[in-house]
Symmetry: C2
Subunit: 398 residues, 2 copies
């Protein structure tokens, strides 16, 4: 059996054609930039007043501590000129610094009386309270690069350069397929030997978190039926996420059927718990992630294998997070142990507290987990205070 890292390397080595699409600015929120963005003007585009007060020429400070107000320069008005360098112009935050001035003294440091501003002190320097044109960027500078995750501040930056439509990496078209004759849907009352579908909903919600709207199917434990349905799905979808039917059971037809449909099986079995029977393969136009059907197995494999692949596909950088284990743990099998944990932050450190769980079929405790930490297969004892790789069970950490 291969290791977790070997499995991940095999998955990330698969190339897959990436597409872009142009979307409205606000629809790009949470997406990934598919093109760099340049400044169309200097930022700021003019010498910009940053405090409400008066603008003077600093040369006048040598002999003068009171300034007659010539005019008002408000934000959004064309630049005015100071006519007499002994005078001043009242200025508002966001306004253009008036011509023939180079210094803004805020209202807090002056007294106004009869159209004259009296300075509390003459200790002012050129260009104080002025945000100089081009300080943050010059026209043509690259402000944002391809592959940046689009946050609210990036939406603001795009707006500031006048972009109302933007190219983003297109999200893949995904089918979720649950399997297993023991599953019933939410509108049915389960018999004693049946359980309700939960993995398909969990995966659906996890994809929504990434902005992906999947289609959801259910495959019965019937080889012919599975073959018919999958023959269409592998043509219609770029990614197929399966839950269940990948193990050694008599009715685990999935790997066989997919191979008959042309799948190149790249991974089947990883030295890990949960998720040992994980299946990964490629077809000419689609990729297969076959997650073992227990809830924790499905969800841990989704975050361990699918999420890094999706991030790479979208052009996002890889992530290497770590956390501090907060209690001793022993695990004696030669498997990487993906331990379910809750996270907290204490004194700048990320602490991982193991959840008491009954195993991979335990959805109840999975719902309380923030992340997994991956304990290496070479060891059996893991001590409080040691640092291990961390994978949040969400799009982001906490």
């Amino acid at each position: 059996m291969i290791s977790v890292q070997e499995a991940l390397d095999l998955i990330l080595a698969q190339s897959f054609p990436q597409e872009n699409e142009e979307v409205d600015l606000l629809d790009a929120m949470g997406g990934v930039l598919a093109e760099p963005v340049k400044a169309d003007r200097d930022a700021p585009p003019f010498h910009r007043v940053t405090m409400d007060g008066i603008a003077i020429h600093s040369n006048a400070l040598k002999e003068n501590s009171s300034f007659k107000i010539e005019n008002i320069q408000s934000a959004g008005k064309a630049q005015q000129s100071l006519i007499n360098s002994e005078n001043c112009i009242e200025v508002m935050t966001g306004a253009v610094l008036p011509k023939n001035t180079d210094c803004v003294v805020p209202y807090e440091q002056i007294t106004l009386a009869d159209g004259v501003a009296f300075l509390d002190s003459n200790e002012h320097v050129p260009y104080q309270n002025v945000h100089l044109s081009g300080t943050d960027a010059k026209t043509g500078d690259t402000l944002l690069t391809k592959g940046q995750s689009i946050t609210p501040a990036i939406i603001g930056t795009l707006a500031s350069v006048g972009i109302s439509r933007i190219r983003v990496h297109k999200l893949p078209k995904i089918a979720i397929c649950s399997t297993g004759d023991e599953l019933v849907d939410l509108d049915q009352e389960p018999e004693i030997h049946q359980i309700r579908k939960s993995n398909a909903y969990m995966l659906h919600a996890a994809l929504l978190d990434f902005g992906i709207k999947p289609n959801v199917f259910h495959l019965r434990d019937d080889k012919e039926e599975m073959m018919d349905e999958l023959a269409t799905l592998v043509k219609d979808y770029q990614i197929l996420l399966f839950s269940g039917a990948v193990s050694k059971g008599k009715y685990d037809y999935l790997p066989m059927v997919l191979q008959e449909l042309g799948m190149n099986k790249i991974i089947h079995g990883v030295a890990q718990r949960p998720g040992k029977p994980f299946l990964f393969g490629v077809l000419p136009n689609s990729m297969i992630f076959g997650f073992p059907g227990n809830p924790a197995s499905t969800f841990v494999c989704f975050h361990t294998y699918f999420k890094p692949w999706l991030r790479q596909y979208l052009g996002l950088p890889g992530r290497k997070y770590t956390a501090v284990l907060d209690q001793d743990i022993s695990f004696k099998k030669p498997l990487t142990y993906h331990l379910l944990v809750t996270l907290s932050i204490k004194e700048g450190s990320i602490l991982a507290s193991p959840l008491k769980s009954s195993g991979s079929g335990d959805l109840v405790h999975l719902a309380h987990a923030d992340a997994v930490i991956s304990l290496p297969l070479e060891r059996e004892m893991f001590h409080a205070g040691e640092i291990f790789p961390l994978n949040p069970l969400g799009k982001n950490l906490l």
Copy 2:
């Protein structure tokens, strides 16, 4: 001027009627549970087989190491019974453990020939590879509590108990109002003394991240017009977020107009940078968050004051994150300094690296910030390795 903590305490002390609504299961993703959720059956509902293999009665192991296969118990089928306790039943993962059996031996540990299973060893114990009924929860147990943030695993849990509609805390109805005559919208080419609206887009995107779809307005620097428009908005919206017009400028009519409309001004000015002129007030049916108009001021105040209020309103727990400053910083004003940083995780610690920014008007650098760390006003020097409060500039951390 009051401190950041005093301002936050004043805001969080404001009570505001909370509402619930019932939504479809998948629409609840990212929301907050408004009701506890109980188990409608034991979890698992039956003794559940966790490996593909054979089920035997462990008593037979004393004398027997080969077992004739009587039957197959597949997942989703009603429980079978082992007739002869010397025999076995083939069982599949997810199936009910057959009657008169108590032990599952996986295929990996047996050899099958002519309808008989030969055990590699007799070292098996009762209830191995069986997930016992009710281990994770008993019927009636509280699985999820009011106020939990709805994650994919919680969607899975809700599905598992048959919930297709769920009560969540209703998101508030929010208006974003940008102000300032220097601003033009994206479809206009700005004059040299004008800039494009960016804060309204940034706030809009930030609210979308919380699942809130705000309405956006622009108020001109005209007192009468502002009065007319706001008279309606304070009746129609629960929360009004303003960007700009809260400082000492001649045309910063906003605080005055809001007070004339009946606002109880609770905060105007906080000992912080950026965001010193921050305004907060309440009207009979609405709350006012007046963010100073520079991009960093607006966005830092949104995350410092509005986000904790929103989390409290939705019933989410307060958060106290911290990070390790990774270089020396000096800041000599008696103000809390909200320092823009990028974050990285090294050896389980969250490292905060200060961004070189030209100040609160600098949108270009704000777009690269992951978070702010808040440096206390009592001090002037802050050293690498020290730990300070951390506030991510997003819904989540990283």
